[in-house]
Symmetry: C2
Subunit: 510 residues, 2 copies
Amino acid sequence: MSTVSSGQHTRPMCYLLLLMILQLGLHTAEGVWPLPQTLISSTERFHLSPQAFYFGYGRQSAAQQGCSVLDAAFKRYFALIFPDYTSGRINAHRLKCVMLVFSGRASLKAVTVWGALRGLESFSQLVYQDDFGSYFVNKTDIKDFPRFQFRGILLDTSRHYLPVQAILKTLDAMAYSKFNVFHWHIVDDPSFPYQSRTFPDLSSKGAFHPMTHIYTQSDVRRVISHARMRGIRVLPEFDSPGHTKSWGKGQPDLLTPCYKGGIPSGTFGPINPALPSTYHFMATLFKEVSVVFPDSYIHLGGDEVDFSCWKSNPYVRAFMQKMGFGSDFTKLEAFYMENIVNITSALNKTSIVWQDVFDYHERIPKDTVLHIWKGTPASYYAELSRMTKAGMRVVLAAPWYINHISYGQDWHNYYTVQPLNFSGTEEQKKLVIGGEVCMWGEYVDATNLTPRLWPRASAAAERLWSDEKQTSNVDMAFPRLQDFRCKLVRRGIQAEPLYVGHCKQEYQGI
Amino acid sequence: MSTVSSGQHTRPMCYLLLLMILQLGLHTAEGVWPLPQTLISSTERFHLSPQAFYFGYGRQSAAQQGCSVLDAAFKRYFALIFPDYTSGRINAHRLKCVMLVFSGRASLKAVTVWGALRGLESFSQLVYQDDFGSYFVNKTDIKDFPRFQFRGILLDTSRHYLPVQAILKTLDAMAYSKFNVFHWHIVDDPSFPYQSRTFPDLSSKGAFHPMTHIYTQSDVRRVISHARMRGIRVLPEFDSPGHTKSWGKGQPDLLTPCYKGGIPSGTFGPINPALPSTYHFMATLFKEVSVVFPDSYIHLGGDEVDFSCWKSNPYVRAFMQKMGFGSDFTKLEAFYMENIVNITSALNKTSIVWQDVFDYHERIPKDTVLHIWKGTPASYYAELSRMTKAGMRVVLAAPWYINHISYGQDWHNYYTVQPLNFSGTEEQKKLVIGGEVCMWGEYVDATNLTPRLWPRASAAAERLWSDEKQTSNVDMAFPRLQDFRCKLVRRGIQAEPLYVGHCKQEYQGI
């Protein structure tokens, strides 16, 4: 029956049993998106009875009942596989039958619980219903592991506030496409919705609304827990020194006062790198953030710093002289970023920064991860070469700015990216740890997030998970992605259509 | 208080009273979208009590209680104006107070019930809540009428099936922007979802699914009734002779068999204009359609006819010779369209056809309305000149193909259209009866329809309703449209954001 292996090591931490009623029959197997590394399927099919089906732990499995991640996943995937059966229709009598009626089983071996989650997702996609509503799975053997370890989606909750519910729903859909990093670009110029314990004024004065447009500590915990249960890490970004206008509302003397004609103009620029108080504030904030967000990575931003305000400010210029930076403001920027990276290093976090930090300042700790967001293929290939040559690890986002929309089947653009097609050694290529789909928020909020993201992001998901040679043809991918999109719709994800056609079950949540 | 006049005639058919608690205060009035012809507002504001507020008919009004359209509108607009008050929180005690507590009133005069509906919409947009949840309206005087009588939205239910609920929700939103024509492009090449009484095979064989992806007679009645209650006409389109692939599945011998190498190739082209059975079928179908859709207009399509299949068919060529058309297939097309127009004329319907019919065949009944869908401003201005010079009435759709999306604030393109900026006499300009926003369905279904349509279509709505001189500036329109978009979101319409920012009440229906 269905065997799903995740991870490349040998000792399975999880050995799960998927029990089902067995009944022979013939049917073409439906696909799995993103495409597994190896999938051998046959037309021999097995009947699954919702009354009899259950997930269980194998005897040899290191994980057993009480493993909260898998216990919860069993419940979730049962409901996803048998949607007709889970809307209050289970009764006691049926539940009693569970252990009695079965004559077939499928097994899933994985080195980690996270691999087991991916395997459950693949298995759930293999189950289909015939026209009479009966559930089937074809005899299938899958061996699988991801091509890249970092498969992220960025949501921007500063340009528009996204209700927690919209984030949770996105996490659900991410798991269906096997994304494993939620990059939370939580604050930026327009608003500061993160409610800090240490600095509550940041959100009470910097959010769009101090009560309705914020993420409380409990909201953040909910997001992290929801993500974790689905094998998704939450990578918070507190972008500085630019992109911080909203910070200034709740934290006096943090931003640089801009000058015009020798006097302060009343406007503010990036964070003021010339004041010791700045670093004290940042250390205190990041101390809190590093506890609230337990992931070992933290994103420090560092992109698009506009020097004009720094240049205008006499105190900043005096500081430059004192530090021996002359009039090279990239040195000032580098000085600032170095301090911030040191703060987070001391907190045992690995930093991720946007490419600007590398572009302007190659002297950067070796374990920092660089994030490419700029340009055309030609320019990001050059950047990939340079960064990996310097021995740095890289995440590629540039080709997946999915907030940019255009008419027609633009998922092709996201699918045909070749992340390793730059000139460099095999060692260099290994330093590309993955890619990220960015949904910047200028034109996106909860009203249009989901149809803009899905299934377009799923095209990138296959690029980041699957073997490149097996997935080089968009025309072959098209019917599979169409089928996967209907699966998303059936699971309640408002995923938009790829082209003319229909799903058996259309979106009803209107 | 608030006076809303609709229509330019004198004897008011509807004279409504809007009763409210009066309390003086100062506040800037919120806007009305689309902009009324005359709006004089003051900072003097009145407190509205949901307990005391009611809509009533004036004594002089020709319409009185029992007028179903207005009785229903009163209920609907009460709920829209007081959303907090209508989620089951009304109790008997409060209802008893209705007649007792009031000390102010607003009046609305309109020549027709439809005008009264528009006035209620304007009034509802004037009411706002302060931070404590109290309702207010500023003293306002409005005189209003639409610039164009035809303000349409096309939905395409053939390329993707739209559940009835999605259509009803679109009708709700249309009324908020004062659209008054729902152009239902109900069938086309990909599917035939209209369930015909006379020819049930058309949908049972031509729909995406014979049971789940169809519009039953009762569905159609529901759509028409929902539209009528909101002052919206339903204009059905049964496009022929092209765009009919799906028709062929349920109606043998209707489509032209294409030939290759002297024998039928197995594929089919447009409807076969050479067979008498074709016209018999079309007459029977349109007889049914003209009863099911009571509107006096019917859309006959006539666009994009591909001649290659007709050319390949020896019987069609023989018919051409017999009719003296030579090898001019536009004559055959004209012959076909003339027959169809005659069929619908005999059914007392006014025909609307796409511009192709005029382009290839100027000899067309004078009362036919022409529908421009092609090209750039230069080309549609030329077409407007030519058509109106020929004395034909025109609806302009070309600049409002809203299915075409691009990144950024593309509503500007829909807002800055100048429909009468073509060369022609005043008499010619009067022949432009309106415009239409087209949402073609290649890439659109219920998952993304609403955020693609709103508020982008609202930009076109203001162009079609309001005075051009008063609405010539996109920058002035921007904050008003942003405010209107938040009103749509508050009313449960998944209208996407225009740019960075927030609404007091964000979309929650996730």
